[in-house]
């Protein structure tokens, strides 16, 4: 059975002149447990919207999203919060670390709302990503690469079944990007987590065997034919 199943998913936003602009229109998409899939897509193809829909941060206009057999469309906000806390790890393009919290606290918060705070595990994770000596540093005291590693550790802290990665290497130089990707894949494999990564970075996408374009699955991302 698939971990993630999407059917007839649609999401659009109103333009200032009142027209509905479709951003996501995905007839079908699925991801098996433990599978790692990368989607290629340039900016503006609805990558973040797509991932936010899966994470329950956004609600679709129509369609179905099932995670581990559980339908999240129509689920209460509280239910979606719980799902995010228990089953989903989210790595953001801009890391979205909490600037007022130390590295350790950021990672602890990554598990606090689901599995429960476990500072020992958070410390282990940070040691794993090479930040054992930066536990009590604040994000602003770290390099960009180090911040991304904290974000990875935070996403993995709750041992999620599904990891969503939105341009996870977008702010990193090539060397750091490769290192970050390796770290993400390695920890996903260790935890048995499925990985859904979206990026436009060819180097990163090259590390995956089969990389469909987001436009292949998202009809709203395909170029629209010019009007006569």
């Amino acid at each position: 059975m698939s971990l993630l199943e999407i059917r007839a998913l649609r999401k659009g936003f109103r333009s200032p002149d009142g027209h509905l602009l479709p951003v996501v229109d995905i007839p079908e998409f699925s991801l098996a447990a433990g599978q790692a899939v990368a989607l290629a897509g340039p900016s503006g193809t609805g990558k973040t919207t797509f991932l936010n829909l899966i994470a329950g941060i956004l609600t679709p206009d129509s369609g179905s999203i099932r995670i581990d057999g559980q339908e999240i469309v129509g689920m209460t906000e509280h239910g979606r919060d719980r799902l995010r806390a228990n089953a989903i790890g989210y790595i953001f393009q801009s890391f979205n670390l909490l600037q007022g919290f130390t590295c350790l606290e950021n990672v602890v918060l990554g598990m606090s709302f689901g599995a429960g705070a476990n500072p020992a595990r958070a410390t282990d994770l940070l040691r794993r990503v090479g930040l054992g000596d930066r536990l009590h540093h604040f994000p602003r005291q770290l390099s960009t690469g180090q911040q991304q590693r904290v974000a990875v550790a935070r996403a993995m802290a709750g041992k999620p079944r599904l990891v969503l990665a939105d341009e996870p290497t977008g702010n990193l130089d090539p060397a750091n990007a490769r290192e970050a990707l390796a770290l993400i894949r390695e920890t996903c494999t260790e935890n048995g987590s499925a990985l859904l990564l979206v990026s436009h970075d060819r180097d990163i996408l090259g590390a995956f065997d089969n990389v469909p374009s987001l436009a292949d699955i998202n009809r709203a991302a395909r170029p629209q034919p010019a009007r006569a």
Binding site: I57, E77, A85, L98, F101, G158
Partner: protein
């Protein structure tokens, strides 16, 4: 633990506004506790402060004036009592003891009161407590000798053997040339131990000393200003009240002293209420500052709140964290408020003691120490609901990264 972590970090992130808001709450809390303690303690203390006497007999006037004059040494004497009236009172079988008081002079602002030695040797000013002479001895009738209350001795700097000349009148004018000094020289023969009563502020001399002071009216030389009365049975006060206040028209019998003082506090109750209202208004304004402080920081917090939500934090956790933050600021403010409270109450207690000799205990625990901080925290929590609802409604997707 997570909630406390969120609160702690948020307070630290907004340290300056946290400190300023907590300080305003500490002033509000301190003021509220001080006003409440002061009015409660002052009422209790003044109502109990009867000097061990049941009643005061004096010239026809208000009972309050008599009590303030004879017990607290504050008001002017309304007139004199003739020796025959004093003798009649003393002969009444219901009366256990009578001590005359004669007033009309001062020494550098401290009231000089003429009385008899049994005031210090026989009388208990409180339960099983008599006046104790710390140094020297009690004056002797018929001699120009003075026994100083502890506070008066300390402020006047007089020692045993020192001499002074009384000034005419109950008050010492700020312009020295306006004061008329008597020629009689008194010598200090004793200093009383502190009794924490108005007696501490008095310079005591023999009653004949006031009566015969040069410049006083010889026609009233045998009169006294008031008489302090101890009854054999306190209920007998009712009969004497009838006798002097209802049937007679020359004298006033102020009984019971505690009730007379209670009437004073009832009369000035509106002032208490105004003070209390002001204190509550300050508390409400301080709570509003919590609201403003957190509400104004909401724009800066939107992203953090959205990140927390993206990590799976429930809305109610975010809501609770904001309320907890407001309550914590109030708790810090209330804790600091105790310092403000003690400082204010200590100042007020010093002032009350200086003016009346009555001691108010600043560190005496009261329920206000519990309910005032709790009320402050409750008000702050209530104020916190406004930004908490705003935090509750933060749109996660739009507050995170821009759409791509």
């Amino acid at each position: 633990m997570t909630l406390w972590l969120l609160v702690r970090r948020s307070l630290r992130q907004h340290l300056l506004s946290t400190i300023v808001t907590a300080l305003s709450l500490s002033l509000a809390g301190g003021l509220l506790m001080t006003v409440w303690s002061l009015k409660t303690q002052a009422r209790q203390t003044f109502e109990r402060m009867d000097g061990g006497w049941d009643a005061v007999l004096g010239a026809r006037s208000s009972k309050l004036q008599l009590v303030l004059n004879a017990i607290f040494h504050l008001e002017a004497s309304p007139g004199n009592i003739r020796p025959a009236d004093l003798a009649t009172l003393a002969a009444n079988p219901a009366v256990k003891a009578v001590v005359p008081l004669a007033m009309g002079d001062n020494y550098l602002g401290f009231r000089i009161v003429g009385t008899t030695t049994n005031h210090f040797t026989d009388h208990e000013f409180a339960e099983a407590r008599k006046f104790r002479v710390r140094e020297g001895r009690v004056f002797e009738d018929g001699y120009r000798e003075a026994l100083l209350g502890a506070f008066a001795a300390q402020k006047l700097g007089l020692k045993i053997g020192d001499e002074f000349k009384p000034y005419h009148g109950l008050n010492y004018a700020s312009k020295p040339s306006d004061n008329v000094q008597h020629e009689e020289i008194y010598v200090v023969v004793g200093i009383l131990d502190a009794s924490n009563t108005p007696a501490d502020r008095v310079v005591w001399i023999p009653v004949a000393g006031i009566q015969n002071m040069a410049g006083h009216d010889p026609a009233t030389a045998q009169d006294v200003s008031a008489a302090l009365v101890k009854l054999r049975d306190p209920a007998a006060g009712f009969r004497l009240d009838q006798l002097y206040n209802k049937q007679g028209d020359r004298l006033t019998f102020a009984w019971p002293i505690g009730t007379v003082m209670a009437q004073l506090f009832d009369k000035i109750g509106w002032f208490d209420n105004v003070l209390t209202l002001v204190a509550w208004l300050v508390a409400v304004v301080a709570a509003a500052s919590v609201l403003a402080s957190i509400y104004n920081s909401m724009s800066a917090r939107r992203r953090d709140l959205a990140i927390l939500r993206a990590l799976g934090a429930r809305r109610r956790i975010i809501f609770t964290a904001i309320i907890a933050e407001a309550t914590t600021i109030a708790a810090i403010g209330a804790a600091c408020g105790f310092f403000v409270h003690f400082a204010l109450l200590f100042g007020a207690a010093t002032l009350v003691r200086t003016q009346t000799g009555v001691v108010i205990e600043p560190f005496q625990p009261g329920w206000v120490w519990l309910w005032a901080p709790a009320a402050l925290m409750g008000l702050a929590a209530l104020a916190g609901t406004v930004p908490a609802f705003k935090a509750y409604d933060v749109d996660v997707a739009s507050s995170l990264s821009p759409e791509s």
